[in-house]
Symmetry: C2
Subunit: 214 residues, 2 copies
């Protein structure tokens, strides 16, 4: 996905792209402030002064990293939801959104995780711009809940704002413990979605288990 084909992209663009990936990786591993321009340059195989040929400042690199991450999330979830059959209900929509969010965070790991920690380190203007993008992303989720309310699938008196925030919080935190190697995304995301939908209570007729059934 990152490196498609040759295309006609100018040479500098390729390097800038590679440089950003290197920076994102270091930002994620050590944190934005703990990563020096010299380290980024070294990891990218160039001298520190050369960084400024590609980006006007270190902060610009961070902004670019953060923008990639949130746009990737927005696009992925948008696509996922569009591809669902129109008849898809709340459970399927939620499952799909959760799974896509989790998978995208994994695919864009360095970009996504660098963003989470570094939001506090950018200028107020940049932060505001980034929060606008986040807000747009939140709207995708809001719609899932609002639709489910209209269709009567979820309780009419449910306060969907905190529900949404809890879910996104749970997802954003998952990188702290979810083992990326084992590809347990599908299982974990279905578990979360079903927990939200059905709860964890033992019941006479245990609800919906589409996956992981014997």
């Amino acid at each position: 996905m990152t490196r498609t084909a040759g295309k006609t992209a100018p040479k500098g663009e390729v390097s800038s792209e590679r440089l950003l990936a290197v920076a994102a990786h270091l930002f994620r591993e050590r944190g934005y402030l703990a990563t020096s321009v010299r380290e980024i340059a070294k990891a990218a195989g160039m001298k520190s002064g050369s960084i400024y040929y590609h980006y006007p400042s270190k902060e610009t690199m961070l902004e670019a990293v953060m923008t990639r991450a949130i746009l990737a999330l927005s696009e992925a979830v948008t696509q996922t939801l569009e591809r669902l059959p129109p008849a898809a209900g709340f459970r399927d929509r939620l499952r799909a959104a959760v799974a896509t969010h989790l998978k995208t965070i994994h695919d864009y790991g360095d970009f996504a995780l660098a963003s989470r920690e570094a939001l506090g380190q950018i200028s107020p203007d940049s932060r505001e711009a980034h929060l606008r993008l986040r807000k747009e992303y939140g709207k995708l989720w809001r719609k899932i809940f609002e639709d489910a309310k209209k269709s009567g699938e979820i309780r009419a008196d449910l306060d969907v704002v905190p529900v949404q925030m809890f879910i996104l919080g749970a997802l954003n935190w998952s990188s702290e413990w979810l083992d990326a190697e084992r590809r347990s995304f599908q299982r974990a995301s279905d578990l979360l979605a079903d927990m939200v939908v059905d709860g964890v209570l033992a019941r006479a007729a245990p609800p919906a288990k589409k996956l992981r059934a014997p």
Copy 2:
């Protein structure tokens, strides 16, 4: 709570305590690395060299901040659970734990939030020590779920580890959006607990609404 009475505490101890609170505040607001020893000193009304009379290093201060936060959480939740009647069921235990976690994070705001962002900035040894404390805290939660499984209150096939992590993730993220001023903790924590217990689905008989009922 912080400043109890006069007691017999040596003078230096009071200052060290105050200094830590000041540091925690700055760590939270700007981040650990973005906060200089000089800034801490200035905010505490002393010269930067004097910091080292109280703490051997900046990192030591961060470690102290983080330890306070996680110990406060452990103690608060332990007490809360102990004070519940032995007959209390899963829902009540979960509600109590969620509310206490949320309230404690708020009460120890600077300490708790500084910790979340700064874990990546301490030495491997300190990090390991801190993660041990976190693990202990996690055990308190684990017990709630394991007990509920034994009593048959929650589904026997439920994988409680991700459930627990999702809940703690949702709680830790809540500081990003939950309005601390409005004291909406009780409402938010009941909502989360009930969502986990019952799910959000509309049902013939809508489940458990102890609070916020007409």
